[in-house]
Subunit: 451 residues, 2 copies
């Protein structure tokens, strides 16, 4: 079976006009969400450390670190934007594989677009094709590949970045096969790194290395033509079980980006149903914390396994506490990055409500479900069953919710007007004359030295 | 078992004075051989392609591409020197693991030494420690890791580069553990790439990424402290069987670089005994091709499996022909890169002798053994049994042989005087005031624009 060369032929030869409008629309939603995450994460300590280490090694400063004044060469900018966009773990998720698809692909090609101008239509097309390559390769090796310990966003992401960058660089079919081979041989990223700065390094590194693969292939640096499927290629070496037909079947007929999802809450996906249910009850009944006697949750086992921390002390720990998460959500009506700050985790009102939250495992409750029972001090009992949490494929975030999430992420970096303009550019990405306008518009006037 | 932190503590805390003189001497031999390979490979098409792709992205041009006029930022120079030094597959081999140890480590720290001056003694010490980390990690996962399809020079090399660069950067113990973690998560390289330009890319990429790991860790970019040993860390994810005690047992008492070997001939190790035996008979009896009626070899099965090509047409194919190899060796008295040029493979005198060579598998002949029988037209029969091929641990190349190999590799790039001076600097590496002098001396005057 010719997997690598079939995929290469598809990426090189596909016509943008053959992509359905709904797919293009989902791609714009993915891109908007990604830009918001990158801008929002751009001032994090992780980013400061990486910049301090690498800024002095930059080549031609042709590309933007989104949300910041620093400019870097395109490979370092790709690295940095991949890091920023995954720092809050708030970016998009392809639930079939738990790949965060946009980071590796968008980081690589937005940096490239700043060097080699490209229309928004071509940019969006390359983005969709990159995500397609990345997620199909992920589909072929999931779950054995992920289960053994690979961080699939890194390992599959490098293919997506190489494919999308190679498309924009105009690689021939042979060069694209080589680019996928050079990507295969750089495929890496370990789940052991979760909880450290090296986790968001993975999509950044995939972007950097995928771009490198495409640039080398463009110069006729040769590689295997069977990098994915050969006995000593990617799929056999990095996975104990694989289904290579997932890469080649119905290419161009189905689109993986149509399955993309976005997190409404800045924490692990398993507690999203509980937060969703509590916010719904809060809003329906205009609840205040002081009215509440208790919050009782019936949950899927993973909720307690992964987020059972009763008394978190710091912001990051709050993400591993379903108790804090629902308490903060009821008080603030949201569970964004702000609700996981040290200050909010230590807020007396929220700590007090948190101590009135209980959670028990209930058989038959699915991963994106929850039963919430809130008892009020006046004796009333409020109940809510969440069948599909908001942000799931079955109940996607609306465009308005995505915009609100974007504004919440961007507010520490951009003025309201700047955020609005950037949001408009993201929605319009497919129509822009120059895709790189998005990168330029992500830099606040203050950082550009404008008063 | 604390593997990563134990190794980090060792690398950070070790005293150079505790390294035996014989070990230091072997390190200088490794370094000399590596510099020769890098200079010799520096004009290869592989290198031209990589330079064409990446030269325009260089940051501060602080480091040398050995043997060339181009200067690059230290990470790109590390990449390029790792590529050049492995292009001919003529660099050193740690036979226990088939790692080519010098490429990843020396490429990283020689580039770093050009940015941050370091004494030759400290350089050689860091080199030895980097090779130690790399080969011990290789020992722990070999052979299951290699057998499944990993190119161990890439996967283990990134640790060696990170360790050696981190030592020269003065990392703390915690930072060194992070550097090893960031190395672990970049560990990659597939054997499927053998036979393409992407094979020599592996040690280069390991050098580049190991250097990146050390630079990030220096800026307190955090990672796991158990990157090697954790259930989702390097050794479990990339190998089905492992013995982690190989990394920590008797650290500082044994030295892997003492086991390093150097190829006298520019081809796969399996035909070295046959070439060795034929050259010995040639020299002992001053044989000319015209005198010879036949050459009969009794060999290990791998010789015919890997190098059984009867009538190679091009230079590279000659490396896969035991027949061409011994014919060229008898005519030229050598089997260097030159003997695998297109011209030599197509030389009528050598083709004629090649057709008089036979090889049969003989039970009981070990991998580094051969029986050679040469029948002369005057009726004489000459015989030679090679018990250990030259270049093996049991019969290492002499210093003079290493120098001759160096000169043969360098002759297309450097003048005889320049090669002599560079050889002297390599032997003296441990005493140089500034280790980077070696890099500068590798550039021919012609390339520096001096008449």
């Amino acid at each position: 079976m010719e997997v690598t060369s079939t995929l290469a032929r598809f990426i090189v030869g596909h016509h943008g006009a053959d992509i359905p409008e709904t797919v293009r629309r989902e791609a714009a939603r993915s891109f908007l969400n990604w830009v918001g995450c990158a801008v929002g994460g751009s001032r994090h300590e992780t980013v400061e450390c990486a910049l301090a280490a690498l800024n002095g090694f930059s080549g031609p400063r042709e590309a933007t670190v989104l949300g910041r004044s620093e400019r870097l060469d395109i490979m370092l900018a790709a690295l940095m934007n991949g890091i920023t966009s995954h720092t809050f773990d708030f970016d998009d998720t392809h639930l079939k594989t738990v790949i965060h698809p946009s980071g590796p692909v968008a980081s690589a090609i937005l940096a490239l677009a700043e060097r080699s101008p490209v229309s928004g239509a071509d940019f969006l097309h390359a983005f969709i094709l990159g995500v397609e390559a990345e997620c199909r390769i992920g589909n072929a090796v999931y779950p054995s590949h992920y289960d053994v310990g690979w961080h699939i966003t890194g390992t599959a992401g490098v293919f997506g970045a190489a494919a999308a960058a190679g498309r924009l660089l105009g690689l021939t079919e042979q060069q694209m096969a080589w680019a996928l081979g050079i990507a295969a041989t750089q495929s890496s990223g370990l789940r052991e790194m979760f909880g450290t700065m090296t986790k968001p390094f993975h999509p950044g590194n995939a972007a950097r290395n995928g771009l490198l693969a495409a640039l080398l292939a463009k110069a006729n640096f040769t590689s295997s033509n069977q990098g994915i499927e050969a006995p000593r290629g990617f799929a056999h070496v990095l996975a104990s079980e694989r289904d290579l037909s997932q890469i080649t079947d119905r290419l161009g007929e189905t689109w993986e980006i149509a399955l993309n999802t976005y997190k409404p809450f800045a924490c692990g996906i398993v507690i999203h149903p509980a937060i969703d249910g509590c916010i719904q009850l809060r809003n329906e009944h205009q609840l205040a914390a002081a009215q509440i006697e208790s919050v009782a949750l019936k949950v899927h086992p993973l909720v307690l396994e992964l987020t059972g921390k009763k008394a978190p002390q710091a912001g990051l720990e709050g993400k591993f506490s379903v108790y804090h998460s629902v308490a903060a959500a009821i008080v603030h009506g949201a569970a964004g990055e702000e609700q996981y700050s040290d200050a909010v985790v230590r807020d007396a009102r929220i700590m007090s409500l948190r101590d009135r939250v209980t959670a028990v495992v209930e058989k038959g409750v699915h991963e994106d479900q929850v039963y919430v029972t809130i008892r009020l001090k006046d004796g009333r009992v409020l109940e809510k069953f969440v069948e599909h949490a908001v942000g799931s494929v079955d109940r996607p975030m609306t465009d308005a919710q995505l915009e609100a999430k974007f504004r919440s992420l961007a507010q520490a970096v951009l003025s309201a007007g700047e955020a609005d303009r950037l949001i408009r550019l993201c929605w319009d990405i497919g129509k822009l004359k120059d895709a790189a306008e998005v990168a330029r518009a992500s830099v606040p006037a203050a950082a550009r030295g404008v008063p």
